[in-house]
């Protein structure tokens, strides 16, 4: 039992629990947006479990492949793979098993849902991590597409097909991801430089990056608000979403016109809070 607990404690950081949790919440919200107020608990639990496994599995595979980068960067050198507490073959096995379990369960639940979950994993691990991340700063677009897959998958599982609202929700996540990743790329600019990872700040400069964050924040806020209205969200919740969107736009504008380290990282935190709040509003 102690060994299991010790291993769990060792493996848990490999899943980037906060990021996985946030993406999982988008998938559950996508499902709830289609099924609320009628919901089947066994479907809901299956969805949560399969998505958690698939997202955590792809994250572990991502961390397995990027262990050399993590070892160089100050922010990540203490991660279990980078500092040698978990061996690469062990992490690879874990990542593959969890991913296969997640996708397998998803396919068993619904082939369409499974296909979208698989697409998310493929875009994240193969296209983003293995192929593009070390080559171009535009890799974040593919990272964003894979990030949009859980909410699309959840919605498709709820409705039985891919619809415009699902695509709009996926677009919202796709455009939210630059806000999340690029504020990080600016904060840890030196780390990414040391690891020779191309980022927007290193390729286009800080001002263009800030502008990109501002534009993508506006598009993300508009997409999610439009999706909320199309879903038939209650007007009270639409008003709350509008207020939170205004906050996101305000902070994004502040990073362009009055950039400081505090505002930049404040936007990063607010963007996460915005996404989580938007998912809760879509779900109720």
């Amino acid at each position: 039992m102690r060994t299991i607990i010790r291993k769990f404690r060792l493996y848990w950081p490999l899943t980037k629990s906060l990021q996985t949790g946030l993406l999982l919440s988008t998938g559950l919200a996508g499902y709830m947006s289609a099924r609320c107020p009628v919901m089947h608990w066994y479907d809901f639990l299956g969805l949560g479990f399969s998505l958690f496994l698939a997202i955590a599995g792809s994250t572990i595979l991502n961390m397995w492949y990027d262990r050399d980068i993590d070892a160089v960067m100050n922010r990540t050198h203490h991660r279990p793979l980078a500092d040698g507490r978990v061996t690469p073959p062990e992490a690879l096995r874990l990542g593959v098993v969890i991913s296969v379990l997640g996708v397998g369960l998803a396919v068993a639940m619904s082939p369409l849902y499974g296909l979208i979950v698989f697409a998310g994993l493929f875009f994240d691990v193969v296209v983003y991590t293995l192929w593009l991340k070390r080559r171009t700063c535009w890799s974040i677009v593919w990272g964003g597409i894979s990030g949009g897959m859980p909410i699309l998958a959840g919605r498709a599982f709820g409705t039985g097909h891919i619809d415009g609202i699902g695509i709009l929700l996926a677009l919202a996540v796709l455009f939210w991801i630059p806000t999340h990743i690029l504020t990080f790329a600016m904060r840890y600019f030196d780390d990414y430089q040391a690891a020779k990872i191309p980022t927007f700040p290193s390729a286009y400069g800080l001002q263009v990056t800030r502008l990109t964050i501002a534009v993508s924040s506006v598009v993300a806020a508009l997409s999610i608000s439009a999706a909320g209205i199309l879903i038939g969200m209650q007007w009270g919740f639409v008003r709350v979403l509008a207020v939170l969107s205004a906050g996101l736009m305000l902070l994004a504008a502040a990073t362009v016109f009055r950039p400081t380290e505090r505002v930049n990282f404040g936007l990063f935190k607010y963007a996460s809070l915005f996404m989580l709040s938007a998912m809760i509003l879509l779900s109720i």
Binding site: G236, R239, A242, V243, L244, L250, L251, R258, R262, V263
Partner: protein, 201 residues
């Protein structure tokens, strides 16, 4: 000054209360006051969240003066629109012009006292409206007695605005430390008074 756990809890409670008010709205009112109240409580919600995330240093931004004008202007506009039908258009014009003039005088560097004067006039009229009108309506029986709580909220937010304005002007009534210590509690009390008062309406 560093933001404490208690400050965060008070600000979070402010955010939750404001969110609740925005979500439930107020029954049976026109679109314009609904938008006005949403804007007012929306700014209170964002103020709570941004102070938690950015800390008290956020108050040093010049944008704060502009944003803090929105709360009294929007809430007073909603009140006038609902309860003083004869003054609707006049007050709407005043609210829009007042806000624009504050934005301009705070954005363009000026050496005279015009920005302070404009701020005092606009805040003064809007603040007195939120403070006096609910009391008047409650005491004359045209609204429920607990509607007077909106006036109390107006007085509290006026007090907060006054403390911050003098602090930013370099002539603080209380020390910066004291003001920042009471600010989260003041914001929560203000929001609670508004929410309770409007629920009576």
């Amino acid at each position: 000054m560093k933001i404490t756990l208690l400050d965060r809890l008070l600000l979070l409670s402010t955010g939750f209360l404001a969110t609740w008010q925005v979500a439930v709205g107020i029954n049976g009112i026109d679109t314009l006051p609904m938008i006005a109240y949403t804007v007012g409580f929306g700014v209170l919600l964002l103020a709570g969240l941004l102070l938690i995330i950015l800390g008290f240093d956020a108050l040093d931004s010049p944008v704060v003066v502009i944003l803090s004008t929105i709360i009294p202007l929007s809430l007073s506009l909603g009140l006038v629109w609902e309860h003083l039908a004869a003054y609707r258009t006049l007050y709407l014009v005043f609210a829009i012009l007042g806000f624009l003039v504050i934005v301009i005088t705070r954005s363009v560097p000026m050496k005279n006292k015009l920005p302070v004067l404009v701020l005092a006039v606009v805040h003064g009229i809007a603040g007195m409206t939120i403070f006096l009108l609910p009391f008047l309506l409650a005491f004359t029986g045209r609204a429920a007695p607990s509607f007077a709580l909106v006036g109390l909220g107006g007085a509290l937010i006026g007090l907060g605005g006054l403390l911050l304005s003098f602090l930013k002007a370099g002539k603080p009534i209380l020390s910066r430390k004291t003001i920042l210590k009471i600010l989260p509690g003041l914001l929560l009390l203000t929001t609670a008074a508004f929410v309770l008062g409007f629920s009576a309406a």
